[in-house]
Structure formats: C-alpha cells, structure tokens
Amino acid sequence: MDFTRELELFPDHKVTQLLFKDVKNSRELRQCAVEGKISGALINPTMLVNPFQVLVAANKAVHSQKSGKMKTRSLYSEIIFNLSPTNNISEAFKRFGISDGDDSVMVVLVYDRNESPSLSNIVAKVDGQQVPVGDLSSLSNLTKIKQLYKVTPQEEKCGTLLDAVVCRMASKDVV
C-alpha cells in the first residue's frame, strides 16, 4: 500500500508515501498537521502526476534543510512548497496542501532510516480508504495540472507530463 524509498543523496533519510481516498475528515487532518499532531506533509493528490514528483520535492527539501536554505518553516511545508512551479508560498499551500473539503490525501513522511514511524497511527487518524500509492494517477486532475504548471502542447510531444512537471519544479529558482 504505502511506498517507501531511501534518498540516494541522503542515505540516512527515508521517504514514505501513503494515499487515501474517500476521505471525510480532511479539515480535522489539516488541523492535526498545523498543531503538529501529524508529522507529515498532507498533499492534495489531484495535483500529483506520479509518486516520483513527491520524491523530487522531498529530496530537494532535505537538501535545502541541510544547507540552511529552506524557504519555509519546516521540512514538510518545504515539500509542499517545492511541488509548486512558483515561489509564492501561500499559493503553493493553496494548490498543493490539502483543503478542508478535499476527499483524498497523500501523506508524506521523511524520517531517519533507523526509525520506524508508526504508519498505523496515521492510518488510524484518516477517516478514509487507504489505496496503493500506484493508484495515484486515477486521482490526478490532468487539466488542472497542465494549467498550473503551464505545460504547452508541443512540450507534451517531446516528453511526458511528469517530465514537464519535474523540470518546472527543478528549475523554479532560476526562472
């Protein structure tokens, strides 16, 4: 169900993604995250194309944290910020964080490889159905994603939508 990867650049860090649909308590979950009762990034999965997009954001967040260059206050908010194609922080939260009415959520955890975070604790907090992270594409809103990342039709001829999205994320500090 969940998907875990070690970050090659920071081998002491692991990233776990958990995906839920038919979520009924997104407002409460968001509150938990704000109060620090859930330590994870709560992401709106309709803005995600593929779990790789999350890994790119997480890797960059850990890198920024280690080099003292974070643009936001925590590693988890930095992941949400990194998903956005622009440098506007509140815009990033609005688009990529979960909002009160959302009925699906992607939870992203980053932790030391010697730790084993309690996934069941997270699962218990979400009033919804956990689904395999590989099902992400069935939740993606492709129209919105193309609009927000400003993906051109000719760009989709030379690569996938994921390619276009990842390129935007990786280059946003210099455009």
Binding site: R5, L7, E8, L9, F10, F52, L55, V56, N59, K60, H63, K66, S67, G68, T152, Q154, E155, K157, C158, G159, D163, A164, V166, C167, R168, A170, S171, D173, V174, V175
Partner: protein, 236 residues
C-alpha cells in the same frame, strides 16, 4: 552544515560511474530517486580567482538549466532536469537510455555497403529543423557537435527521437551573428568528424534555412564567419 552536505554529495559521487572528465565538468552515470541519471558536476578551476570562478560556474549552471527548460517548452527534446545543487554545481539529468550519438550513427552509416544515404539525408534535415526551432527561441547552444545530439529509440515510434544535450556553454541571444557562429562551430565539427559529408551538411543548412523564420540574416553571418575563418587560416 555545508560541510555535511558536501560530504553527502562527494560520497554519492564516489559510487557513481565516471563517463567523462572534461575541462569544466565531470559527467557521471548513476541512479537518482530510482531513475537512471546523468550527473554533471562543475568543479572549481584553481587557476581562476575563487570568487570569479564561483560566479562563472554558478552562471553556467543556471544557464544550462534555463536553456534546457526553454527548449523543452518549445518542443525540442532535451534530458529532463531532476535536481540542481547550486552549492556543489551539480545537475541531475535524465539519462537517455539506450541512445546512440549522432556521431556514432553517421559513422556506422558511412561504412561501405550500408546504403544509408537517404536515411542520413532525412536525419540531416531533422537536425536543421530542430536547430532552427532552437534559434527561433533565441537559445544558442554554444557547443554544437554530432556528439551532443543523441538518437533515442522509442518503441512506440518508428522514427527515433533526436535529443540535444550538453547546454553547458549555452546562452540567450537574438543576434544573427551568435546563431551564425553556433552553426559555424557545428559545420567545423561536422566536416572534420565525418569525412566527405559536405553535401550532407548542405542539406542540413538548407533545411535550417527553410524552417527558421529569421534564417536569411543568420546564413549571411555564417558566410561572413566562414570567410573570416578562411582568412585567419591563410595568415596563420
């Protein structure tokens, strides 16, 4: 902190396969977030003043990323940028798996008995079209050679994709002179790498001229640059 991070990168690089040691950068093959990845690391040049060197290296890294993005937005295939570390000047790029350089492709097509003339002409035309599109976006590659063009075989396509790589010396310019020099660099490299390809290269230029909106001024500059090159070689 910075210490810890540079340790992480150098440890990572020590496990990567070195593909090329250049004058400005090292190119490695590795895995990143599970994907086959090409890592390009620009290293400090000891003979330069450190502050100047840092500035120049930073600018080149930024420019490489910008040019790749610009090209992709215009529909020109280039490797995807996965991650950029501006503190160690490393760019993590998609590896074009199972690709062949245009250089190797032409060389094998030129073997006696390969009968690939028509196919090479098609390829030359496509290169001309892609470079026209790139110049119409005001991207100057800066190091056009047949080694910096890859052919990617796509299972779903009969025709393979042409992918431009190595934008390390690229920059932005609308000047016909800069575009003319870009083509001149390619011409020199092309004709010296591939003997007896004058007419093939002519096809490439013809296709460039037919595809680019602003080709007339560029070709005129190319002619001027050629003349200058010839004069210089007569003197030198």
């Amino acid at each position: 902190m910075a210490q810890e991070k540079s340790m992480a990168v150098s440890e990572f690089l020590s496990n990567a396969e070195l593909l090329k040691q250049g004058a400005e950068a090292r190119v490695y093959r590795t895995k990143f977030l599970g994907k086959p990845t090409i890592l390009k690391e620009r290293f400090p040049k000891r003979y330069r003043h450190p502050v100047l060197d840092e500035k120049l290296t930073h600018r080149r890294t930024v420019q490489e990323v910008r040019s790749i993005l610009r090209c992709r937005k215009a529909g020109i295939s280039t490797p995807v940028v996965y991650f950029v570390d501006y503190t160690t000047h490393c760019i993590f790029l998609e590896e074009i798996v199972g690709s062949l350089t245009v250089r190797d492709h032409i060389a094998s097509a030129q073997q006696p008995g390969s009968c690939a003339d028509a196919e090479l002409e098609q390829l030359a035309k496509r290169i001309g079209q892609i470079l026209a599109k790139m110049h119409d976006e005001d991207v100057i590659h800066g190091d056009l050679t047949t080694s910096n063009m890859l052919l990617r075989r796509r299972p779903e396509n009969k025709e393979s994709d042409l992918v431009l790589i190595d934008f390390g010396l690229s920059y932005n310019s609308a000047l016909p002179e800069d575009k003319g020099v870009d083509l001149y660099v390619l011409e020199k490299a092309f004709l010296s790498t591939h003997p007896n390809t004058e007419s093939l290269f002519e096809k490439l230029l013809k296709s460039y001229a037919a595809s680019s909106k602003r080709s007339a001024a560029v070709i005129k500059k190319l002619d001027e640059v050629r003349l200058r090159g010839r004069k210089r070689s007569m003197v030198g």
